[in-house]
Symmetry: C2
Subunit: 342 residues, 2 copies
């Protein structure tokens, strides 16, 4: 352990920021790791660019879209929620007409990889749409970063946050985040203090930047972990990592459908790293899931919200996205299906 | 690594909560570790009990008292700041008259162990004073917990938070926190949503409690670290740990004064685990401090605020509070003083 103001530690922090820029595909100077898990990234993103009375357009088709909307309300925003059924994307045309209908909108927020549904939200066209305007584009890529293509600069994304424990394969505890110059200008022009002191970018950036002014104690050992995880990502190569996730994920999705599982995410918009699926009525998903954990040591997520009690969420992320893991899971499922069904 | 919803992990979390109750000296059911460093504990404490328009009395005699005041303002409070010079306590009489002068006060907040000054704030009388009233007593014990006596129940403290990286000797990343039933009632009666979603006790308590409802991903490996650190604290025994900190700290303070250093905290109210001191004019504190780190691998904190450029802050905390460490530091200081002075 070293101190959080130790000169050597700052070289580690600088390297983390440099590597984050590479995985975010950005040259944004304001790129760092928030001292909290993914939802702390969301809180930082929303509270720093939103002020009371702002109009904010949020795509809501799962837990995390709903959470952005709720966080924006708590930041004082008037939220325009574009709701879509779970398992569907938010179509670009809906966003375009919402922005037209709300010319005062300050922000559009979307979830890149909706962890509750397995849906892969397209971002590029929305980025194109907003690029020439004053509207900021905020993106939740907690489950996206490192697993599927994400091009912060090329797609004109203004505020993007992620988590460490998904496709980066680092213990949970930090939320990588990046802000464009456009977002910086919006923050510079704030008329009110950010409601959160802990997540206030104006303070935190003086610690991660060249000023090295104490703000709060950084979680040193978590940052060491992120340093190692990012090194492994870049050693593999980001494109290769995306390709590996795709190959392994598509293979699993093909195979699991052969076992009569139904995929819950809209065709053509499925994440390879997170598969949501439902079993036929004859299968008790809860029993199967518990036995998978108890007998085979394999954890699969349960459904949230409207998917609770029916869906499985299978993560094949980061170091876990291997054919060997898929085979192990399929073998275990086959064995359990055979032994538990009549 | 296990999942944050893994049944086995919940047994670890339960043990952490049980051990936290033992070190906080409380039976408060609402006792857990906030997913962030010490200032995240402050944010959780303040935002959950304060609503816009509330009057809040805060003792301000250093960085952390000022930070509580600022956090309360961002939560929408009208802050009555009881300012005292750095290095002094906030006298109980001042608090008593402030509460009398502001009969609508909802909360009194004090810093138990002011990390910026080394002052040990008395709490017991203030707790006595507020116990029979509707006023909550909020205490920052980031640097106190595990190092000096802290009796949450006996002293009638309602909201107390700490950090892991001080006298518990655990990596930074979590903020232990505890709420009395009186504080729970105040939170139950809120008329407005907590401004922070991430730190909202109403959500987080369903994860740490028996409901086991997902709120945000807990920083699993940090909680493992806290589990081990608390086990070591209890293995040593809390009273023995307090006595060790006192013995080592007083010895250091005696010895360092023999080297012409002046202690900056008010006599009779000095923390043993954190000594703030100033050198005579002939000594360049910055040069001495840098050489101590570079040549001897010993990190001493610099002064903050009005103490910047003059003060040292020497931490003898947790596993670091040993006579061997004091001897190593004194030897290094003696050598550097001899070699750098004419």
């Amino acid at each position: 352990m070293v101190g959080h103001m130790d000169p050597w530690f700052f070289t580690v922090a600088d390297q983390v920021a440099t590597m984050l820029r590479l995985v975010f595909r950005t040259e944004n100077r304001l790129t760092y790791a928030v001292s909290g898990t993914g939802s702390a990234g969301m809180e930082t993103a929303v509270h720093n660019v939103v002020e009371p009375g702002d109009t904010v357009v949020v795509g809501v088709a799962g837990v995390f879209g709903a959470r952005i909307a709720e966080t924006a309300r708590r930041a004082g925003a008037d939220v325009v929620a574009l709701e879509e059924p779970w398992g569907r994307i938010v179509p670009t045309e809906r966003i375009a007409s919402a922005v037209k209908a709300h010319p005062d909108a300050k922000l559009v927020a979307l979830v890149h990889a909706e962890t509750s549904t397995g849906v892969h939200q397209p971002l590029e066209e929305v980025g194109e749409l907003l690029a020439g305007t004053d509207v900021l584009f905020l993106v939740d890529s907690v489950t996206g970063l490192g697993g599927v293509p994400l091009e912060v600069d090329d797609w004109h994304l203004d505020v993007v946050y992620s988590g460490t424990q998904k496709c980066l394969s680092v213990p949970p505890g930090l939320a990588p985040i990046t802000f464009s110059r456009k977002a910086e200008r919006v923050m510079d022009e704030r008329r009110s203090a950010v409601r959160s002191w802990y997540f206030d970018v104006a303070g935190v950036r003086q610690y991660w930047g060249t000023e090295r002014v104490y703000h709060h104690t950084a979680p040193i050992s978590s940052i060491f972990g992120l340093h190692e995880g990012l090194s492994l990502v870049l050693e593999e190569g980001l494109e290769k990592r995306w390709a590996r996730h795709a190959e392994v994920g598509w293979h699993f999705q093909e195979q699991i459908q052969d076992r009569d599982a139904t995929l819950l995410a809209q065709e053509g918009y499925r994440l390879p790293q997170l598969t949501s699926l439902a079993w036929p009525d004859r299968v008790d998903e809860g029993v199967l899931r518990r036995r998978l954990l108890e007998r085979h040591g394999i954890e699969v997520g349960g459904g949230l919200g409207p998917f609770a009690g029916t869906a499985w969420r299978v993560g094949l992320m980061g170091e876990g996205a291997t054919h060997a893991n898929v085979d192990r899971l399929l073998d275990a499922v086959d064995e359990l299906l055979e032994s538990t069904l009549p």
